[in-house]
Amino acid sequence: MSLRVLVAVDGSVHSRRAVEHVLRLAEAQCSIDLHLLTVQIPVESGHIRQFIPQASLEGHYRDSGLKALQEVVSILEELGHPHTAHIAVGHIAATITRYCDELKFELIVIGTHGRTGLRQVVMGSVAREVLKLARVPVTVVQ
């Protein structure tokens, strides 16, 4: 049975490296069921729902999600590697780990921007929070 792997994607070069790492694993005779997940931060407060139709909100999340997925999906399509892409909305790290729990993934692969010092404090690291919350092995790709 193949290994169910969830790769967290945000459209950056770091998430591309994460996917490349998974492809390397697949090359090494490891059968992988590859899923991509991008998480969009919710924009809606109670107020916004009163004025903007749900369809517009969904469309907005879809657009920004597809943008984040675009690069890695085209790489995977070029290689003909089967994969499934998902877009979810929520607190980024918590949604990734919840998604992993609910859909029974066995490994999370995530890229990290490798920020240090003050930028690390301000912008933080989703990868670090995922490490803290995850109940399955996590591979952090830098």
Partner: protein
């Protein structure tokens, strides 16, 4: 006003107003972007420009009225209670807000109308909070409006990231609103003659109680709410324009 340069309460109020603007101004920007989403590309810029202009004009008028109304008896109490509610609502992350049946407008004026009406409702929070923090000081009020405009225009992405990174920011902001609310109630024309006789630390005590009240009620409401399922967005949608858009993205 050279003497205000070293005036600690003045600078505290400035800090409070900036925090309020950041916390309560972020979603105005989102409405502007989303309301113009369905416009043809050539009209989008126009829609945003007119919407922002209308929203800023409305905000100036509203805050002008708010300042004058707050000088009337009882209205500071009403404003304070309103502000407590705004703080509790800010804390609420699982509120089941009923989805109103809103039509998606595809015309330029429809989008501008949505922006202006939405901003009128949404900046009421902001106006009450800024008026409370400014405590009648007109310079502070003007400062509050000026500083909120760039936040409305450019800040939403940053504010959203900040809140995702530090959920604590929301709790602190809600506590600040509770703090200001208590202060506002004590400054009501009716209560002031009585509250002025109290020593300085009672004011702090009242404000601290206001802040704690907001945080505790907010926490309690969040705990009672059932956890929501993961919000997943499908990659494809039915309207033709959406399909065309995703094809362009080669997915």
């Amino acid at each position: 006003m050279p003497e205000t340069l070293f005036d600690l309460p003045f600078w505290l109020a400035v800090g409070q107003i900036i925090v309020i603007d950041i916390l309560l101004g972020g979603d105005n920007a989102v409405v502007i972007a989303l309301a113009c989403r369905n416009l043809p590309f050539s009209q989008r810029r126009k829609g945003i420009a007119w919407g922002v202009t209308g929203a800023i004009a409305l905000r100036i008028v509203m805050i002008f009225f708010a300042i004058h109304l707050l000088a009337l008896p009882f209205l500071n109490i009403v404003g304070g209670i309103l502000l407590l509610g705004i703080g509790i609502k800010l804390m609420c992350n699982a509120c089941s807000d009923d989805q109103h049946d809103v039509a998606c407008s595809n015309s330029l004026w429809g989008a501008v109308k949505t922006i202006v009406i939405a901003d009128a409702v949404m900046s009421l929070d902001n106006v009450v909070a800024v008026a409370g923090a400014a405590n009648g000081n007109m310079a502070l009020v003007v400062f509050g409006i000026v500083i909120s405009i760039p936040i409305i225009l450019f800040g939403s992405q940053f504010v959203m990231r900040l809140m995702d990174r530090f959920p604590m920011v929301i709790t602190l902001g809600a506590a600040l609103l509770g703090w200001i609310a208590a202060d506002m109630i004590l400054n009501d024309v009716i209560i002031k003659p009585w509250s002025e006789q109290l020593s300085g630390w009672t004011h702090f005590l009242a404000s601290a109680i206001g802040a704690m009240l907001v945080v505790l009620i907010g926490r309690w409401r969040n705990r009672r709410a059932a956890p929501k399922p993961i919000h997943e967005v499908s990659l494809f949608s039915t309207p033709k324009s959406e399909i065309a858009r995703s094809r362009r993205l080669r997915i």
